[in-house]
């Protein structure tokens, strides 16, 4: 019969096993002797009133108790001692091993056999109960591991879950070497060079490259368990055996293999999730690129054609050009500027999209940023009136000034483009405890109904095709900048006509400062 090894474990709830194992085995035999002595002492005064067959029952009770408490050995010892004690103390003639009546020999034989039988059965029962508890604990640990693994999104979480499982269930360490992008085994960064040798790595490589049916390799330091997932081997798990978790018996082996499969499947799932996400990003990138190319081919070609044509006309020096000379030069300059602004927006968008954007957060004065944006677009706004109304005690706000300036530049540019000359653009701001609200409003035609949120998309423009140049990137940039700051942006049409763009910036916790130090001079 295969006997599962009982493992002493530090796990809570497993203390039951620890107690039976932890005591010195001689205690069991001492108790066996004690039980025999105790029963004899109790039974002696009763022997005159009770039949000896009933006293036998008392002795058997003792054997059951010892068997249940201490297992087979002490119980057998108790059975033998009981027979001897009863013979010596209770069976006439007393204080002698001689037996007067031969029928007592049968009693003793039955008593001994029954005692031994009971001890065997009780010990087996106890053992099965212990094994059942252990199995329950193991399946619970496995369940926990499976639950943890099902929620993992990156390899590091899997490694963490595996480490915790082995710590809890086997009180041992585990190292996961996973397949990297190049298909090679890589050592996780958390594993120091002292805990893994070149030999270990070589053996792990061998377990990893085990072919169709990878096998567990074993040395005294590690077990090298291949992580075999449905598609391929995903890595190797290095488990260091300890005296309580030798992984030599079938039960522990089975558990180890189960864990390996669970981890391998989790790694494979994470791998495919990553692959799928990258594919999505790439598709999105492709879509963006084709839209960008389409937009560029129109919006850059037009000004470039004008520049090229004007420049060549000037070069030929055609006589008819004469009076138009200045106009041609103006065209070149204006179109070049327009091209430059387009390129700026494309670069902004690319920077915001690439994810490499690093916000340079400082406590900024909004009024200052607005002023700078108005100055930057002074030419475009020459025919418009810009009114800025901000409370004089408007607090500073933590933001990246150059990016927030781009928001105002884009909103002002839009206002200048979509409203008639002479229109009024109002800029205002208000702060409450949680956030700063900033708005840019005009008295132009407003936003076409239903397009209020659509216009923030890339390459989308209100009244697309209308006689207004642009790529439709401005508001997308605004939106990306605001979102990067943890704010919101939205657009509304005003009841009396005109569009209003509002965005918020979180207030954060403003710095404590005393700008007026005591005069030292």
């Amino acid at each position: 019969m295969a006997i599962p090894v009982i493992v002493a474990r530090a796990a809570p709830g497993a203390g039951h096993h620890q107690r039976s194992i932890g005591l010195h085995p001689w205690w069991g035999y001492a108790w066996a002797l004690g039980a025999a002595a105790g029963t004899t002492i109790i039974a002696s005064p009763l022997s005159h009133h009770l039949d000896l067959t009933n006293i036998v029952m008392l002795y058997l009770l003792g054997v059951v108790a010892i068997a249940f408490r201490f297992g087979r050995g002490p119980a057998a010892a108790a059975a033998v001692t009981n027979v001897a004690a009863m013979d010596f103390f209770l069976v006439p003639p007393q204080f002698s091993f001689a037996v007067a009546d031969a029928q007592y020999l049968l009693t003793f034989a039955v008593m001994l056999v029954t005692g031994l039988l009971i001890s065997h059965l009780a010990a087996k029962l106890k053992h099965q109960a212990e094994v059942a508890t252990l199995r329950e604990q193991r399946s619970h640990d496995l369940y926990e591991l499976a639950r943890l693994l099902s929620g993992t999104l990156i390899d590091e979480q899997i490694i963490d879950a595996a480490e915790r499982f082995f710590e809890r269930s086997f009180s041992t360490k585990v190292i996961l070497m996973l397949r990297d992008r190049a298909g090679q085994l890589s050592i996780p960064a958390s594993v120091g060079p002292q805990s893994i040798t070149d030999t270990d790595i070589a053996l792990a490589e061998r377990a990893f490259a085990g072919g169709e049916t990878p096998k567990i390799l074993t040395t005294e330091h590690f077990l090298y368990v291949p992580l075999q997932a449905p598609m391929r081997v995903r890595g190797v798990m290095l488990v260091s055996p300890t005296h309580v978790a030798t992984f030599e018996n079938a039960d522990q082996r089975l558990q180890l293999e189960t864990v390996a499969v669970l981890i391998a499947i989790a790694i494979e799932r994470v791998h495919f999730v990553t692959v799928a996400r990258e594919a999505t990003v790439q598709m999105e990138g492709e879509r963006l690129r084709s839209t960008l190319l389409a937009a560029l081919s129109h919006d850059l070609r037009t000004p470039l054609t004008a520049i090229l044509g004007s420049a060549e006309l000037l070069q030929i020096g055609a006589p008819s050009v004469g009076p138009d000379h200045a106009a041609l030069v103006d065209t070149i300059r204006d179109q070049a500027r327009r091209t430059s602004e387009l390129v700026e927006n494309i670069l902004d968008m690319a920077r915001l999209e690439s994810g490499s954007l690093h916000l340079r957060l400082e406590w900024q004065s909004l009024e200052e940023i607005v002023g700078s944006a108005i100055k930057a677009r002074a030419t475009a706004l020459a025919a418009h009136t810009v009114l800025v109304a901000m409370p004089p005690d408007l607090p500073l706000v933590e933001c990246d000034a150059t990016l927030i300036e781009r928001i105002f530049v884009n909103l002002l540019e839009n206002a200048a483009k979509y409203t008639r000359p002479g229109s009024i653009i109002r800029i205002g701001a208000q702060a409450d405890a949680a956030e700063m609200r900033v708005w840019v409003a005009d008295n132009g035609p407003g936003i076409p109904r239903g397009q209020e949120s659509e216009i923030f998309g890339k390459f989308t423009r209100a009244n697309a095709g209308a006689d207004v140049p642009g790529l439709g990137l401005g508001l997308a940039i605004c939106s990306a900048v605001v979102v990067a700051h943890g704010g919101r942006i939205w657009a509304t049409s005003l009841p009396h006509g005109g569009a209003e763009f509002t965005f918020t910036l979180p207030r954060g916790s403003p710095p404590v400062m005393d700008v007026d130090p005591p005069e030292s001079t």
Binding site: R360, E367, E368, I369, P392, L396, M513, V515
Partner: protein, 229 residues
């Protein structure tokens, strides 16, 4: 005759800057690398140096730092947009002003003239400032707006004095804060912002659209005395 040195690796940009400056009657020397630029600066003793920050053999900022060890010649920096940190580094290294590419000829000429004016004027003392309706007496420490006295706190006055002493130049936040509050406040650029906000509210007609106390976003402040045309 005014000598100008341009250190820029792009031949096209060098050419149009050269023509523009020559048309103003200036003598222009060209250098395409940092090394050549340093040599030319020592040889020609220019009255103004224009430096592109991205040079093939090194950073323009290093050239400025070298230059500053022996010369106070005004330096105008050319840089790409988005390179605020680079601009600030160049200004902290001793550059006087910057132009963001792409820039127009008229803008460049205006900056060049302002810098040359400044280097001539710095010899004279600037005791009185006129900011539109506002008159500032730096020595008498008094400010008048349309004849009426305006009260400035000591720290506001110090910011104004500091900018006035460097008028036309871009002063980075770091330079201002170090000068006014001390080097240990170097990273706390918001100190300058708070005081600037108050100063503008007292001296400018429209604090949000200042005419004299200008913001160079992400970089610093500049006091402009005569509006750059």
């Amino acid at each position: 005759m005014i000598n100008v040195l341009i250190v820029e690796d792009e031949k096209e940009i060098r050419r149009f800057v050269h023509h523009a400056l020559a048309s103003e009657g200036m003598q222009v020397f060209e250098a395409g690398t940092r090394e050549r630029g340093t040599i030319e600066a020592g040889m020609r003793k220019p009255d103004l140096v224009i430096v592109d920050l991205g040079l093939p053999d090194g950073d323009g900022t290093d050239l400025i730092r070298d230059l500053r060890t022996w010369s106070q010649v005004p330096v105008l920096v050319l840089s790409a947009r988005g390179g605020e940190a680079q601009k600030v580094a160049a200004l902290d290294a001793g550059a006087d002003d910057y132009l963001t590419k792409p820039f127009g000829v008229s803008e460049m000429l205006a900056r060049v003239r302002a810098l040359l004016r400044r280097s001539l004027r710095s010899a004279q003392d600037t005791r009185l400032l006129a900011l539109g309706d506002v008159e500032v007496d730096l020595l008498g420490r008094s400010v008048k707006k349309r004849g009426e006295a305006v009260h400035l706190t000591p720290i506001e006055f110090r910011l104004l004095t500091c900018l006035a002493a460097n008028s036309g130049r871009v002063m980075t936040y770091r330079q201002l804060v170090c000068e006014i509050w001390g080097p240990s406040y170097g990273g706390q650029s918001h100190y300058a912002r708070v005081v600037m906000q108050r100063l503008r509210q007292k001296l400018e007609v429209d604090a949000a659209q200042p005419r004299f106390l200008l913001t160079e976003i992400g970089v610093g402040y500049r006091l402009v005395l005569a509006d750059i045309e």
